[in-house]
């Protein structure tokens, strides 16, 4: 490294490798003092990377795609059905996309959103523009998101509130008959569960 040592590393931009070494040294010391365990750190990083994000919602969608009985329960009582999978803390109504109906979620008042299932809302979801235009001209907004629906498709807008959140159950893409539940979940995006995207088949799948 360059000469100018800064004793306690304060306010000095260091190359990544030095930072990485320093963090390893910290972990090594803290583990030695039994203040942390590396396994706990692993679990936390993975929980924050995976649980705060659209993964939980994707699991719900994939289950509904492979299990018709679960799908029926999910549409009848979203709150109870997501609890079956260990997700909760939110009153949820699930709305299903079909060939003739496309659902889209907005919160016109603020930014109510099913965090527990799909993580934190994207910036655009909270924007005044989306909140107002989703209701006024949903077809145009959807086109801007790359979803071009035929005129015959009915668009339903669901306005979230503090009491009730909505999740879109997207259509299962064609060509995914052979995929298992875990692989199906990987196809489901946050935007599809908000209703501003459709789920695309995996690359290479015929449709």
């Amino acid at each position: 490294m360059s000469g100018g040592h800064d004793e306690h590393g304060h306010h000095h931009r260091e190359p990544e490798s030095v930072l990485s070494l320093r963090v390893r040294a910290l972990e090594s010391l803290l583990v030695e003092k039994k203040l942390v365990s590396s396994e706990a750190v692993d679990r936390i990083v993975s929980a924050y990377e995976q649980d705060i994000g659209p993964h939980n919602g994707a699991k719900v969608v994939a289950r509904a795609w492979v299990d018709p009985a679960y799908r029926a329960r999910l549409l009848a009582d979203g709150t109870a059905a997501i609890e079956e999978l260990g997700f909760g803390g939110v009153d949820l109504q699930v709305v299903e996309n079909t060939p003739g109906v496309h659902n889209m979620v907005v919160c016109t008042l603020c930014s109510c959103y099913p965090h527990a299932l799909i993580g934190l809302p994207p910036v655009w979801y909270k924007s005044f523009e989306y909140r107002s235009r989703a209701v006024r001209e949903p077809r145009v907004v959807l086109r801007e998101f790359g979803v071009d629906l035929p005129e015959s498709t009915e668009i339903r807008i669901w306005d979230s509130s503090a009491e009730l959140r909505y999740l879109v159950l997207p259509e299962r893409p064609a060509g995914t008959e052979r995929l298992n539940e875990a692989d199906l979940a990987k196809l489901v995006t946050r935007d599809a569960m908000i209703g501003v995207a459709v789920v695309k088949p995996p690359a290479g799948a015929s449709h």
């Binding site: 931009r13 990544e16 320093r22 963090v23 910290l26 010391l29 203040l35 924050y48 934190l120």
Partner: protein
């Protein structure tokens, strides 16, 4: 079993807000995830309250901004974390510097 992700941590706002992409946390380097995980783990173990760390982080970010430093979010996080541990007497900077040198020279291997 560790607690589920805490909203107090996940939803920090303003300058302290966690870097995200599409709502998901972004760790550009492995060490960033490690330092994040260690900090959260120690708050779970009640070594400090999350708000204590958050206050250190906010202060560190404000300091770096004032000084016009181009350090990344997690470099500032690391700085704040070290400061908090030092303040609490949980580590001392000499030992940390020595351990860093040992790892660098290969005199010591990872313990994890």
């Amino acid at each position: 079993m560790d607690p589920l992700p805490s909203r107090e941590i996940a939803d920090m706002s303003g300058a302290a807000a966690l870097p995200r992409k599409n709502g998901e946390l972004v760790f550009n380097e492995a060490w960033q995830g490690r330092i994040f995980g260690m900090t959260v783990a120690m708050s779970h173990e009640a070594c400090f309250a999350w708000r204590e760390f958050q206050a250190h982080l906010i202060e560190e970010i404000a300091h770096a901004e004032r000084e016009g430093e181009s350090t990344s979010y997690y470099e500032r996080w690391l700085q704040a974390f070290e400061q908090l541990l030092t303040d609490k007497g949980l580590i001392d900077t000499d030992t940390l510097a020595e351990r860093t040198r040992d790892l660098q020279s290969g005199r010591r291997d990872d313990v994890f």
